[in-house]
Symmetry: C2
Subunit: 432 residues, 2 copies
């Protein structure tokens, strides 16, 4: 793996490389996606089933689109009981972490009769998109569904494309049931997003759509945003490791590779103050690549978006991490908590040599759906907050309003909103 | 104002009417907006100043684009001291309410050496758009800026279009200074959004752009979303009043009118269990219209989007309010808090006869930037949460990881992510 000195040139090159991964140029798909959205919005089930026939080669009807209890029971028979066991352990940790994110409505009252507050209400119905195909990720089902469940969402609807026989992957079904999905429909692609956004005869309209998908799904979600809410659109995965000379090069190498295997656009970056570590990590990577099943993908990812950067100081390394705002950040230094306090931008921060990134993907409890592509500067991990909304609460007594009514009328008049001023004034006019 | 029985037909008509206000059909502007964004992204200041010359007829340079301290001092001389005084009182209330929204980072530790947490970090730099032109709303400056200030944003950048002399409205400047804006640039329109999203020689790139604007501004914000964060796109204003026979018809009428005056697309709806109240409110509205300065706008708004609906039961009224999910909801009933518990969807809820909606617009403290057009089903008022982001924190001891490492490896293998499994396994391999 290439080793470079961290300086203005290498930093700029790196940032430019990473930007290339942005999904900007998808105009060609937009027209098709809009056509699908529009047809499903108008023709509902008819269009939904026609597209499912066309794209998934599965023949569905209003009677077969919904996964039955029998199908879920069958799935449990097919899935390795060990996996069910591990899923349950992971769920316990994920629930425990996300429970701590729950927030209460609050009110604040004043003896003059003023009550101000913020009411928290869960979303009513949420749609979770789960991709089909060869790569099936039950962990992703858990991470999307559990925060919604803990927020108190009334109905969690899952959609996932069927195979040609109209069946859904059993691992997906088991993960969905274990995580608390209420109902599952066998539809995928932009047509599934349309169904969740507008509703059809079979599939109810939802308030928010979350979950990863291919470019059609991503564009469809973006197009329906505003009509419903969506989570942010996920980009390729990233890891950045900050390490000093105390880090174990074998661990660092293994952790870089764990993200590089996701896909060819994934990015793995080490920033270290130790040239010796840099060289050892590079050697370890070559060793591991001889045995890993996804070595081809990893090589392509590392060639394009993999970097080992050697910095003069730890402060420089931290600045670079903050500038890149990586999805995953590992800190493998003598005092990782000291470094953590200086980190402003990262989706998830892994501290010390036993907090390997896959621990967070599967098991520790925090969400693995994280901001990518530098968006950790302003976006957050998926959380319970994504499945609630707030309403302000305002109550005033006559006494409380009387004290300030002239100020409000004055302010409204200054903005030339005379009917605003009138609605305050009328409360204090002489009785007619 | 038209009075109708609340039933399936009137409810459906009403929802269809409201939907007509959705800003869906703006294709014609999109090309122009993208051209502006692209030119400012590439040519930076040069394009920014050229567009300012073209659209605002103001000649600006890198030296004059930034509002100077002298210009702000001049503004204070021009603004009525009473307004400054009222602005300061409003700021105290807005700060006090938003302070209660602040959240702390938290950590949770376990004796086996596990630490999990959530780190809260303010956004680094935020851009606030403030419209120019005839309608100047200093209250809106306060509502956008104060939550950012309380969140701890390092730099709050404001942009607002100049007049032909290259000047900015003094009320806007004073509100900005009082609220805590760090720097103000005299640019507006899509070109200002481009500058905030990409940065130019004069204007720094920001992490999030908030604030209302015309259709060019709204489309530009939507287009840069993902590259930076944005607030939600504001639609026309709305009020829904739930009232029973105990309500004062004069207050109800005045409050409906206060929203209808905003613009011709604004919507004012009364749902009441009392036909007598409905009739009285309709009469009061006609009375008020004789004297209000914005009567022409109000009439157009009421003709198109104003409704008085009479329901058989309070439950029906509540259901309708939840279905419409109004930006502002007033509850003028004998026991408003009882009704409030049943409200799921509303931006801000005003309780009782002295919580008139303009109290919330100007003074009480909660934010007046609220979800419109039914989006209160899934969006929230602007808050301190909009100006922070979260990072997950994960730290495990060797002991803690050892207990679960086989489970994680198993889960990763089940998803065929072998490099993920490897990164855990390598921590427990025999020493080489």
């Amino acid at each position: 793996m290439r080793i470079q000195k961290l300086n203005d040139v290498s930093r700029r090159n790196l940032l430019e490389d990473l930007l290339k991964r942005s999904p900007n140029q998808y105009r060609e798909y937009e027209g098709k996606v809009e056509e699908i959205l529009e047809r499903v919005r108008i023709e509902k089930d008819k269009a939904l089933f026609a597209y499912t026939e066309q794209f998934d080669h599965a023949h569905l009807t209003a009677k077969t689109v919904k996964v039955t209890d029998e199908e879920i029971e069958e799935a449990y028979e097919k899935v390795d009981p060990n996996l069910v066991d591990v899923i349950r352990k992971a769920i316990a940790n994920i629930r425990s972490y996300h429970e701590k994110q729950k927030r209460n409505s609050w009110f604040d009252s004043n003896p003059d009769g003023t009550i101000l507050g913020q009411k928290i209400t869960p979303l009513h119905r949420v749609g979770v998109y789960v991709p089909g195909g060869k790569a099936v990720y039950p962990s992703s089902v858990l991470m999307n569904v559990i925060p919604a469940s803990i927020a108190g969402v009334d109905e969690i609807v899952m959609v996932t494309p069927p195979d040609r026989e109209g069946k859904v992957n059993p691992n997906t079904l088991v993960a969905a049931r274990e995580a608390g999905v209420d109902v599952i429909y066998k539809v995928g692609g932009a047509q599934a997003i349309a169904a969740l956004a507008y509703g059809t005869e079979s599939i109810p309209k939802t308030d928010k759509i979350v979950g990863p998908g291919n470019i059609y799904v991503a564009l469809a979600k973006k197009a329906v945003y505003g009509h419903v809410s969506i989570d942010s659109v996920a980009g390729p995965s990233e890891i950045l490791v900050i390490a000093d000379e105390s880090a174990n090069p074998r661990y660092v190498a293994a952790d870089l590779l764990s993200q590089a295997e996701h896909d060819e656009l994934a990015s793995a970056i080490l920033v270290t103050t130790s040239m010796e570590l840099a060289e050892k990590v590079s050697v370890e990577i070559e060793q591991f690549l001889k045995t890993l099943s996804r070595a081809d993908i990893i090589r392509k990812s590392l060639d394009q978006y993999g970097y080992i950067l050697v910095s003069d100081t730890m402060d420089e390394a931290v600045d670079t991490a903050n500038e890149i705002a990586s999805e995953h950040l590992e800190i493998l230094t003598k005092n990782p908590f000291d470094i953590m306090t200086k980190i402003r931008n990262a989706g998830a921060i892994f501290l010390g040599e036993y907090a390997s990134e896959p621990l967070g993907d599967y098991f520790a409890g925090p969400n693995h759906i994280l901001p990518t592509n530098g968006t950790a500067k302003f976006f957050s991990p998926l959380s319970v907050d994504d499945f609630i909304k707030k309403s302000s609460i305002i109550s005033y007594s006559r006494e409380a309003l009387e004290k300030v009514h002239k100020d409000i009328e004055y302010f409204a008049e200054a903005e030339q909103l005379t009917a605003h001023a009138n609605s305050i004034r009328v409360r204090f006019e002489e009785k007619r």
